[in-house]
Symmetry: C2
Subunit: 504 residues, 2 copies
């Protein structure tokens, strides 16, 4: 009797990486159920579509449905898996008003995450999150004057026409409130500034990009200001006001909070819902806006596993082991829905990012095909462009988080040139480096600058995953040539300075 197929739920990075790898290595059936119509799209490109630097929405697609089928994958779009029966090894699928049960030999849950809207009324016109191609298309349509939206921008994809038509018919906004200064907030501030909007960015804690640390924010914030973005840090947005369409946000700068440890750890989910410290109506200041963009966090799509007893980890994400296995037999999880192991702390963590999804999917595809392959750790590596500044972070940047994890952290921030001082075009590069005082182990770091700053975080990411000490890091034979780096790369300068503090 033939074995039941490998079933994958979710047709984006993790799911399709798994299915593709599996089909290359095994001669067995794989079915991918995707509840929507879009598959294989680049989430991280959405702000750049809105900005206009990506010409068409469909440029963000990596593989077409026929590409996927050419790989021997049985792709079923418009198929929502609503429940899993781990005892019977079946999933229940809903499509076109019908339901059916699909048996599986192995199951991969790669359902991703969705943007949260906290306690806000996100049903008002002009209020958006950026998650999925349709959301970016809706924003793009909303920015055009009524009747003037150029639908060529959408390319030839399965867009939600009703959503586009609705937004394209509304008057375009002049002022936007971006709620949350994490990287979606920063990228959208750049995108909407490029589109000519008057951008107000609200960040509850005392600086933007909390996971990147204070030194990065100290350079990003004046740069945002210089680009015309009005920053409101330490300010809580209490309410989105409007009848049908948003008319104002109400925000209170007396409620600004310290950055919490959870904020510092979470790379993606940097701004929590403001429910817990919501002010009484009337307390805050009213900012008239015609658009609000919510970047207040994301949450894993785990509902289909309710009732299965599957173990959960941080933020309710599905707990997985070194091979991406959940606590249910033959059920794997990968991507934004799953937890991972942190390279520094060894603890379970939830850092939903693109490479993690691709890598874990690919590893699980190999494992299910018979070649057990670890999914790898996450180091919390993240980079973001903030107009002309490049920002990067990895590992444990926050000393309090490092101390909570049992380390004895020491941290320094240095500034060094990105090129030899005499060579034109360089920029000051700011590096924060965190190490453990007892062992000298490198724990984390952050970088900001205009010239090749972000990519330098890869040196630290590699050093951290190799469990290097400051001595190891300081003695690395890194590249030097005047157009690209000074003799001592900024990362090496930081290593020397932190090491000097350890020795003193």
């Amino acid at each position: 009797m033939a074995r039941d197929p490998f079933v994958v739920i979710g047709g984006d990075a993790a799911g399709l990486s798994a299915a593709s790898k599996f089909r290359r290595e095994a001669d067995r059936e794989v079915i991918v159920f995707e509840k929507g119509q879009w598959v294989s799209y680049a989430h991280c490109g959405l702000p750049y579509f809105v900005e206009g630097s990506v010409e068409r929405l469909t440029d963000l697609l990596s593989l077409s449905p026929s590409d996927i089928e050419d790989r021997g994958i049985d792709l079923r779009r418009g198929h929502e898996v609503v429940s899993v029966d781990p005892t019977e090894r079946t999933v229940t699928v809903r499509t076109d008003g019908e339901r059916f049960d699909q048996p599986y030999s192995e199951l991969l849950v790669a359902t991703g995450a969705r943007a949260t809207t906290g306690a806000f009324d996100a049903s008002l016109d002009g209020v958006f999150t950026i998650h999925g191609l349709d959301s970016a298309a809706a924003v793009d349509a909303y920015l055009a004057p009524p009747g003037e939206y150029d639908r060529d921008r959408l390319g030839d994809g399965p867009v939600d026409d009703a959503l586009i038509d609705h937004n394209a018919a509304l008057d375009p906004p002049e002022r936007v409130a971006i709620v949350g200064g994490g990287y979606v907030g920063i990228e959208m501030a750049e995108a909407l500034t490029a589109r000519g909007l008057d951008v107000h960015l609200f960040q509850r804690s005392d600086h933007v990009l909390p996971p990147f640390g204070a030194a990065v924010a100290e350079r990003v914030e004046p740069h945002l200001d210089a680009q015309g973005v009005t920053l409101h840090t330490g300010t809580v947005v209490d309410e989105l006001v409007g009848a049908d369409r948003i008319e104002a946000v109400v925000a209170d700068d007396s409620e600004g909070s310290e950055i919490t440890r959870a904020d510092s750890e979470a790379v993606d989910s940097v701004e929590r819902s403001s429910t817990s410290n919501r002010a009484e109506p009337g307390d805050g200041e009213r900012y008239p806006v015609e658009m609000a963009l919510l970047g207040v966090g994301i949450q894993p799509n785990t509902e289909l596993l309710d009732g299965t007893g599957v173990a959960r980890g941080p933020s309710g994400a599905v707990r997985t082991d070194a091979y991406g296995r959940t606590t249910l037999p033959a059920v794997y999880a990968a991507g934004d829905v799953a937890t991972a192991r942190h390279a520094v702390t060894g603890a379970e963590t939830w850092v939903p990012l693109g490479l993690t999804a691709n890598r874990a999917g690919r590893a699980i595809g190999a494992t299910v095909a018979g070649d057990p392959t670890p999914v790898g750790n996450v180091a919390g590596t993240a980079v973001v462009k903030a107009f002309d500044l490049e920002c990067g972070r990895v590992g444990l940047v926050d000393e309090d988080v490092a101390a909570d994890t049992g380390f004895d952290p020491v941290s320094e921030t240095i500034t060094a040139g990105s090129r030899s001082g005499y060579y034109p075009g360089g920029d000051e590069t700011t590096v924060t480096l965190v190490a453990d005082r007892r062992t000298g182990r490198v724990l984390g770091g952050a970088i900001v600058g205009r010239d090749r700053a972000a990519i330098r975080i890869d040196t630290l990411a590699t050093a951290i995953e190799a469990e290097m000490t400051l001595n190891d890091l300081e003695r690395l034979d890194l590249a030097y040539a005047p157009p690209f780096s000074p003799v001592w790369d900024p990362v090496l300068v930081a290593a020397k300075v932190v090491n000097g503090r350890l020795e003193s």
Copy 2:
């Protein structure tokens, strides 16, 4: 009785790094003898001064003599150490026609290297090497029409006026032969093209930049051509012809040789003297030129140690151990004069580069001050700009060299985007990756591309020094954001492909 001073020979990167670190950590005397007048200058900046992107020669100085003295260092310029007596622990110093003996407690030989001219007649006017500030100043003066040289270009430094005057008085060249396609040759091709010259680049072996491997050269060579550089690969320059001033080079393209293993290993010394296979006069083709620039290699300045019995390593450089100690008691060596340990092979090697000099000098300064500090390994990391292309290499790139060292090498070259495909401004990045088939260990790699390619070699350098395997490398949590990197960084793509070959 007070101890004799720490004596340092050579006032550039290694020597001054040692003296500075020593003075910060010890309350003892340090004397630095420098035979010339220039100290603390950036060798790697010389091509960019000639190019004109560095405004003044003195912009290449890092520390002034008074800066050095402010650090408590007894700097003696115009003092040449002519011999060392390791039994008596003295050096003999010549200055202004006098000689004296200087006792030392510890001695650091940091005399650097000098450009070689092979069998060529380098006494002809219009023939240059690029080594030291005076040589770059001479080239700069030679490029100006008689009487029109702008001496402001030299800044306020101890230039060799006679040399400048002589070259400034000569007619400027229109065509230049650059002999040697190593990185000095490539950088000078760019510089002299920018200065309006018709540049001919001669490379004995079959591609330029031998230590970077064939894949890098395959992109660099057409790019040089597109920039107007005429390339003569596989062509041996036999002779520089002229009465007082150079009139032509004679070169033979029937003598072109395979890249030797020594070529592939040596990062700096890429083109050996052509003495050994010099053609009979009349064999070759005559290329009229008014300038020749020799980039045929460098050799360590070790003459002052003749007769001491000090052990030598590759290329005659002074053998040093993990702490920079020579085989003579209390005598250290660092920088371009000294050997180092290779991070991959563990063998003694000679890779004279700037960071190695600074790092070893600093470590020896600490060691002599009482804090034993290893100088660190070299990984052979090197980067070079070739007009718009960025090139990098590290470790063992040549499979034959790797095999000679006892590895079972497997190598692949891949091409991947530097950014997400939909994001503008990216470029194809070509990565060659070499690993050991038996252990999976990463042995070396090379990179070329226009967009942030060179700096990516640091990821490989870090991985190699951490002795990572392909599995480790493939699972690294590297940075991803559309403006800076695709989901799978080109380095990760290369790791996947080479790993795939190992598994098959």
